[in-house]
Symmetry: C3
Subunit: 396 residues, 3 copies
């Protein structure tokens, strides 16, 4: 484990342009920027673990804009904001799901007069979430440039239709801790595979986030899914290019067994096919309830053909020494526990349950680091100040 000073020194050696830039997609960030995010997260965790206050904001709002239900990410965002001293204010847009244009431009400014950060989750509609975040960003630029806003609130993507950077970065932090450093991930084989679930319509952003990020660090990333369960083609292409650049590997296979073979890490998780999500988005836009029901039936029937895509004890035996690290963004569909047949066997999940909890536990710090880097140009300097200030988080 690095000392606090080593973390600061490591940050200082990086070239990064995170300050005043939104965190929307991991592949818009350089490797140095991704590393800095991990390091700042580590530093904030270190300080809190030492009961040292990391409150850098005396006041200020953090807007929580969830266009979809969420407990975990909502709590992670609230925890991160509180850790830094920001107060969360919820923006409820349930009644205007796909609001665009004038409404977005105006609302973005109206909620931002005294706001430092905006966290957005918008993963329901393919082609919408990322676009919406960009629109909000443009509206904030406009407001800031024209003197409406005294500061330009940063945006953190809490899950869109394309990427889920707070999840994938927390996953990466978990791997770095598990293997004793980011550099040790080089050459490790990770199987990001589709798994059976009795539900439908799960977003693509987690698998896309994983293949888009893990290919940056020299890993061997295998994406596995039944035929027809493709992800957004652009993201798949990008994963390939990433692997080429980082000295890693990337391939797509249609066999869970092949993906699991000799894998160091497995990430079995259900999602809906890209093509289905496109049809679904269209039906949702048209509020076609009949069509949505029919599509759901069709998909569930199709899913049912692949019930053997389950992370069983047998499948785990295929992995490296039978001991691959099991990962999941939670909640998992656990066979015999949360559903009759699902993504993972009960015994496998239970063996890695604590690890998946720890994996999730990095998310508040990752989000806090994203906020921190967005607001402070000299992240290392501010962290140093916090440590020297030495205010206690809990009086003692």
């Amino acid at each position: 484990m690095k000392s606090f000073n080593q973390i600061l020194e490591a940050i200082q050696q990086l070239k990064s342009n995170l300050h005043a830039n939104d965190f929307l997609l991991t592949w818009e960030k350089t490797e140095d920027e991704l590393k800095q995010t991990l390091l700042v997260a580590e530093a904030l965790k270190f300080l809190r673990d030492q009961n040292i206050s990391t409150k850098v904001f005396d006041s200020g709002l953090a807007v929580s804009n969830f266009r979809d239900n969420s407990t975990r990410t909502r709590f992670s965002f609230a925890s991160a904001c509180n850790l830094l001293g920001l107060e969360v204010q919820d923006l409820d847009e349930t009644t205007s799901q796909i609001a665009h244009g004038e409404t977005v431009r105006e609302t973005a400014n109206m909620i931002s007069f005294l706001t430092d950060i905006i966290g957005i989750r918008d993963d329901m509609f393919l082609g919408e979430g990322h676009t919406y975040m960009q629109e909000v960003g443009n509206a904030l630029d406009d407001g800031f440039r024209n003197g409406v806003l005294p500061q330009r609130p940063g945006i953190v993507n809490l899950q869109c239709d394309i990427d889920h950077p707070t999840q994938s970065m927390a996953d990466l932090m978990h791997l770095a801790e598990y293997y004793g450093g980011l550099e040790n991930l080089k050459g490790k084989k990770i199987a990001m595979t589709w798994a059976y679930s009795p539900s439908y319509g799960k977003p693509l952003s987690v698998p896309q986030g994983i293949i888009g990020l893990m290919t940056r660090f020299g890993m061997e990333v295998v994406l596995a899914h039944p035929e027809g369960y493709s992800l957004i083609p652009d993201v798949v292409d990008l994963a390939g290019r990433n692997a080429g650049n980082s000295g890693g590997k990337f391939r797509v296979v249609n066999s869970m067994d092949e993906a699991f073979h000799d894998a160091d890490i497995v990430y079995p998780k259900s999602w809906a096919p890209f093509e289905v999500m496109q049809r679904r988005t269209q039906l949702l836009k048209n509020n076609n309830k009949e069509g949505l029901k029919a599509l759901e039936q069709e998909c569930l029937a199709n899913n049912a053909r692949f019930k053997d895509w389950e992370c069983t004890e047998e499948k785990m035996k295929l992995t490296k020494e039978g001991k691959a690290l099991y990962m999941h963004c939670l909640p998992a569909d656990i066979s015999g526990i949360s559903c009759a047949e699902g993504e993972v066997a009960g015994s496998v999940f239970e063996r890695y349950r604590i690890e998946t909890y720890k994996e999730a536990g990095f998310k508040p710090y990752i989000i806090a680091a994203m906020i921190f880097n967005n607001k402070f140009r000299d992240a290392a300097g501010i962290l140093k100040k916090l440590n020297e200030r030495g205010l206690k988080r809990i009086l003692g």
Copy 2:
């Protein structure tokens, strides 16, 4: 622009009795008190812009009691409270819309044990909102007098059936900034006019707030609306008296053109006729859904007769040098953008869009000033202390 010390000196020269008094209607306040509200808002904005903390509360709750939906005012209130160090706690009374009597008396105390301020929005029912706020105030007086409450929480009217003081005061602050000082408003002509909207039931509190406030500062206030679209008669009478006292002018006309003629400022905004709001309130109380639908149809049909009450480029040409300042409390019904035909032409709105955003941006500071003055007798002294304390809002 005044220096911080000039602001403090200006405050010290005023006689005000804002301390421990609720802010319900601007016409219950003296001119000095209105000026102090603007000055404190200016001072708080100055400090925040200098990254100086304005946290005067180390802890304490601010109750947000919205009996109607709202995003903008809700965020303004939350921003104001956070700026001063209060934590907002929502009181959801949707299920007991017109609760009165015992329930109000008891609830007001139950939510106030550790509460410093209560913000209330209650603009749905004519004859209800202001009365409700007074009832809450009496209940708090009773609780404080009898030792139930260790402090008497102040009340800020976030919009009632009669007035919308946080809006009109933010509008006034905007005008004072735009024209370089409150004293420069003397003689300026402002047209508060009805405008066509494809919706119905918009509250009267904004136009009433504007004519009730702007007549205090020697302006020439013209209220324009089609015949039958009257405001509450008492408020119209009061506007006339205000104008007489301040050396200004006030008149009511039935022509948008006449109001726009040579105007320095135009404020075109839809509202429902007073008489309609009275019938609507009765129907709402009786939960008469048939009646409400019929009334809506009748009103929309009536509105449709006045589609030419739109703030078009032609109408703008009637104003002083064709360059009157366009104002709106937002969101506006923008023709061709948020609706087919509405209150204002797209090109006019776009030209003044940034100004309307800035106008809205004063609201958090106005609300903060109302809270500040309610809690501190020596506002200037406390502001001075904040500046001397010099705590940073964001670490740096």
Copy 3:
């Protein structure tokens, strides 16, 4: 009234094990622990009344988990958390009312990474609420032990199916203040009696909490209800044992008059019979709406047979010198005010209204004390530090 130093000295003489232990049932706590809770509440109130900050947390979340509607307890919890520096984050579980097992274990950890306290209200289902709180506690133990959580959040029971400790402790604090000390309660007669209400399904936790707690301090506790309106038998047994141990008395009678006779304190409040709550729980679990309606009709009809169980002026004359202290957890069903016929006559309630408000006013401090004791082993030492630190709650 004790001085601050006397309070600290009194705390130091107690043996308590409140640190790192959940507060679920008063009868799981020793008398010393109950006394310490009252004393810390008193100390926190003293400091706040002197405008001294009691913020012991610089940051940290407090999860508010209400599985039932509540305004009063919600505000009390929010006030308590704010007083200590914790930010409340709501966990909305309305859609998963009786979630258990894996879901509880996982969710408990997912919301707790940076959480210091969890307040839970779960009083709807007999046999569920307390069990749920224990399950959450076990999940947190598991997460803390396995390194998932950097701290073990404490749990405060904000009302379960068995006990309502924040209410009964606030009631006890009220009595201690009213009679000038806990020791003066010895020998006082308190009548915890059923009273008529035109509603049904009110939980048993308040009367159970009262008989379970007041029997600890040498009081003469009389539980009165019509035949068939029993409480959970185990709790009634426990009250008897408590009385034996404390030198007090406990008996159950079927006459309101008998209970009121010569009583120092009366606590007339409606509840549903234990046996009815058992049937209701079963129907709720089966989502049997027909059955629930039928049960409601049956119960209301049964209730109607006991309309004379009302705390009238005549009944009050039966009490000691006709001047017993009337108590209620609020809101009361007040005859002629909140309902036609209810628990208490309007004139009786009005005479004691302010006292019932004061009674409620202790709840935020009781909750804060429970949190405080849970987090700090040396409560007196930390209180001393707060006083010496002398930060002002409101700048002045």
